[in-house]
């Protein structure tokens, strides 16, 4: 017999649990349900536009960006920039952005490495900034050519230059002095470089002539392009269907690496990230290291007695590689793209450009910035920065092509083989050409 209970009764334990659990389940699912139906066209009701930026920076880089973002937000009440690392460092941004694009929720601006932008730009969600760069206040041609090329894919501008660097050689003055070897002047050849490295290697003291990353990644690969370009080769040939260094240029470049490996004068860093290689240099166990300006603050902090000279050459003609990174812009509605461009214009204009370059240890993106008194003073007070700053004028950049990873991967393996003393340059080149050309030939 069931008896109607008074309405003010306590719920039974079972009922309480049942209803409570149901509520909990609903509450647990509501964010999932809510995520499905967002439909903003960019601007909110009161006309302010909020844009999200994933910058992938930490420490000094993050601090500087935070300052610039705060200044921009204060000046522009109609635009609010939300800047965060995006939960990853720049190294992992490609994976992060790929999954973000696949899931349909992506930021408005992200820090994408130069070699990756061509693949990211295949997505229809990447904005086309071509209409914006002709605006007079953008002053597009003021950016260094390498920086402009790096954000242009198939003739369309997909972002703004974010950072530019290039390779020069840092050397340890103490090691040169102790061995009685004259310091390099910058007018030197790769043969001299190899010979110097061999001479300054001392297994008894654990001193290496030079270093080269040997994890087979992009940091291992990009260091060989200046040699290839100097010898008249190119990364991809004119047809775009073949690599442009399956000839003497590639062979001679690999021979240089092979010789370093055979002489055991190179510290081959097989760990991802190349950190140890630079530690070997800063701890005074390496004579010379090709590096970018980003390591100078580290050298200064470690109180290394170092100097910097341009890369050696074969021909006497100056050549180096610039590895520009990009602020790629994604399309979350017209208002947001416009706001993103406004912010990036601010970020890369003179005052902010010089702030970013000096504080974060990079170089100016704009030619006009390099002429600012503030930058010139920074160059004068930072040991070894001048060769990097000068190299901006002649540095070349990698082509922004989608198949680039399929060239980089086998080339990385070939370089590692040379560094670890496995196989001949001829064999490594023919195998790498076979693999890379096969990848390039497929559409």
């Amino acid at each position: 017999m069931t008896v109607r209970q008074p309405s003010g009764r306590m719920p039974t334990r079972r009922e309480l649990l049942r209803n409570g659990l149901g509520l909990a389940a609903l509450a647990g699912m509501s964010p999932l349900l809510g995520a499905c139906g967002s439909d903003d066209d960019g601007a909110s009701a009161d006309g302010t536009v909020t844009i999200t930026m994933w910058h992938g920076q930490e420490n000094q880089g993050k601090d500087t960006l935070d300052k610039i973002v705060a200044a921009f937000n204060a000046k522009n009440p109609k635009i609010k920039v939300n800047a965060s690392s995006g939960g990853v460092l720049a190294d992992s941004m490609l994976q992060k952005i790929t999954t973000a694009l696949a899931s349909g929720k992506y930021p408005d601006i992200a820090y994408i490495f130069g070699p990756d932008i061509a693949n990211v730009a295949r997505s229809p969600k990447v904005a086309n900034l071509q209409p914006f760069i002709t605006q007079p206040d953008v002053n597009w041609d003021d950016y260094y050519p390498a920086a402009r090329d790096a954000v242009t894919v198939d003739g369309k501008v997909r972002g703004f230059p974010a950072l530019i660097d290039n390779l020069c050689v840092a050397y340890n003055k103490k090691i040169f002095a102790a061995a009685g070897v004259p310091e390099p002047t910058g007018d030197w050849t790769w043969d001299e470089y190899v010979a110097t490295a061999k001479r300054l290697t001392d297994p008894a003291k654990g001193t290496f002539g030079t270093g080269w990353p040997a994890a087979g990644d992009e940091d291992c690969v990009w260091r060989i392009y200046p040699l290839i370009w100097d010898l008249g080769g190119s990364i991809v040939d004119g047809s775009g269907k073949k690599i442009g260094f399956d000839n003497d240029s590639g062979l001679k470049a690999l021979q240089v690496v092979h010789q370093l490996g055979a002489d055991k004068s190179v510290y081959a860093d097989t760990k991802p990230g190349s950190d140890q290689m630079y530690q070997v240099f800063t701890s005074g166990k390496m004579a010379m290291i090709p590096t970018g300006p980003w390591e100078l603050p580290v050298f200064i902090e470690a109180k290394s007695d170092y100097g910097v000279v341009p890369l050696p050459t074969f021909s006497g003609k100056r050549v180096t590689i610039a590895g520009p990174d990009t602020w790629t812009v994604f399309d979350n509605g017209k208002a947001k793209v416009k706001a993103a461009v406004e912010f990036l214009k601010f970020l890369t204009s003179g005052d902010q450009d010089v702030q970013w370059a000096t504080e974060a240890g990079s170089l100016p993106l704009r030619k006009s910035t390099a002429n600012l008194a503030e930058w010139k003073q920074h160059v004068d007070t930072t040991v070894g920065l001048k060769p990097f700053s000068d190299a901006l004028a002649y540095a070349k950049t990698r082509p922004t092509i989608r198949k680039y990873p399929q060239i980089s991967e086998p080339l990385g393996q070939a370089i590692v083989k040379m560094l670890l003393g496995q196989g001949t340059p001829e064999g490594a080149l023919s195998e790498l050409a076979k693999n890379a050309n096969a990848a390039l030939a497929t559409p």
């Binding site: 659990l21 040997a214 097989t270 991802p272 590692v416």
Partner: protein
């Protein structure tokens, strides 16, 4: 979901018709039960089944996650079947598993036997053996890549002490994979020790006593009393460690990234590389499915063996 709750509320009303009441009560019971399991159902569906189905679909497409995918049927699987890189990755994974599983189980058993006695500070020793298991694979990878650095590592300094020439370690493609096994053992053994210790302490003392009264020596006691009693733990460890080592990834990622010269590319690393480095997400999903299929076959096989076992036991 909402309707179910409404029904649940209706159930509160007094009911007179006994048949209806039964039906309602059953219905109500079921809805109550569903509300209990709903959170886990949502989690299993959302985080387990949906991604599995999605990656199955993905494995039948040519997709890069960025541009619209194209349906290619079984072509990814066909390409996989004669991809030398995938074959190498499978080979490395099998070598790793074939070494890691028996060594970790044997090592775990040995250490557990040593630690299963009453000596001073035994709690400390047991904790120390287990500590490496708690260290994350990433931290281990970083730690050991410094120890095994070919030029500045501690390992070569120790070898030098014994007049053994410096080794390449992670810079030597014939050593890197075995080194990974060694590092995995450093931490993996601790887990086996704990499982075996629990098993050893479950063995009734009377059994061991009876065996010794019957004149069994140490060897015989182990063979006829301890080892059979540990059988369930051994089977569990065999399955668990095999599944774990077939899916090894994190340590490879932090120490070698598949190098040097692709000598440590394991299957999951291959999948990662295909999906995120060269943008063949469909192809990567196919690789992942081949691994999943292998794991499935393995689990079914072991289940069958165990069922046969149980029958044997019940027949006795």
């Amino acid at each position: 979901m909402k309707t179910q709750f409404r029904v649940a509320v209706v159930n509160r009303e007094p009911v007179r018709d006994p048949a209806r009441s039964l039906r309602r009560r059953r219905y109500g019971e079921a809805s109550t039960a569903w509300s209990y399991v709903l959170p886990s159902v949502a989690i299993i569906l959302g985080l387990g089944i949906v991604p599995m189905v999605w990656s199955l679909v993905l494995s039948l497409q040519s997709s890069d996650l960025i541009t619209p995918a194209q349906w290619v049927g079984l072509k990814n699987y066909e390409t996989l079947s004669h991809d030398p890189n995938f074959r190498a990755a499978v080979g490395h994974t099998l070598i790793y598993t074939a070494l890691f599983v028996p060594l970790s189980i044997a090592g775990g058993l040995g250490l557990a036997l040593l630690l299963n006695r009453k000596v001073r500070l035994i709690g400390l020793y047991r904790t120390l053996v287990f500590v490496p298991f708690v260290v994350s694979a990433t931290a281990q990878g970083v730690l050991f890549s410094f120890i095994f650095d070919s030029h500045f590592g501690l390992a070569n300094a120790v070898l030098h002490w014994f007049d053994i020439p410096a080794q390449g370690f992670f810079a030597d493609k014939s050593q890197a994979l075995y080194l990974l096994v060694l590092i995995a053992l450093w931490s993996g053994v601790g887990f086996c020790v704990v499982v075996y210790l629990a098993g050893l302490q479950d063995i009734p003392a009377e059994l061991v006593e009876a065996a010794s009264i019957d004149g069994a020596g140490r060897g015989a006691t182990f063979r006829f009393v301890v080892w059979p009693a540990l059988r369930p733990m051994t089977v569990f460890l065999l399955i668990w460690e095999t599944l774990q080592s077939l899916q090894v990834f994190d340590m490879v990622f932090v120490t070698t990234r598949g190098g040097p010269l692709e000598s440590t590319t394991v299957v999951v690393f291959f999948v990662w590389q295909q999906a995120f480095e060269v943008f063949n997400a469909g192809y990567a999903a196919a690789g992942a499915y081949v691994l999943a299929f292998g794991l499935l076959v393995l689990s079914i096989g072991i289940r069958l063996i165990r069922r046969g076992d149980e029958r044997k036991v019940s027949r006795r």
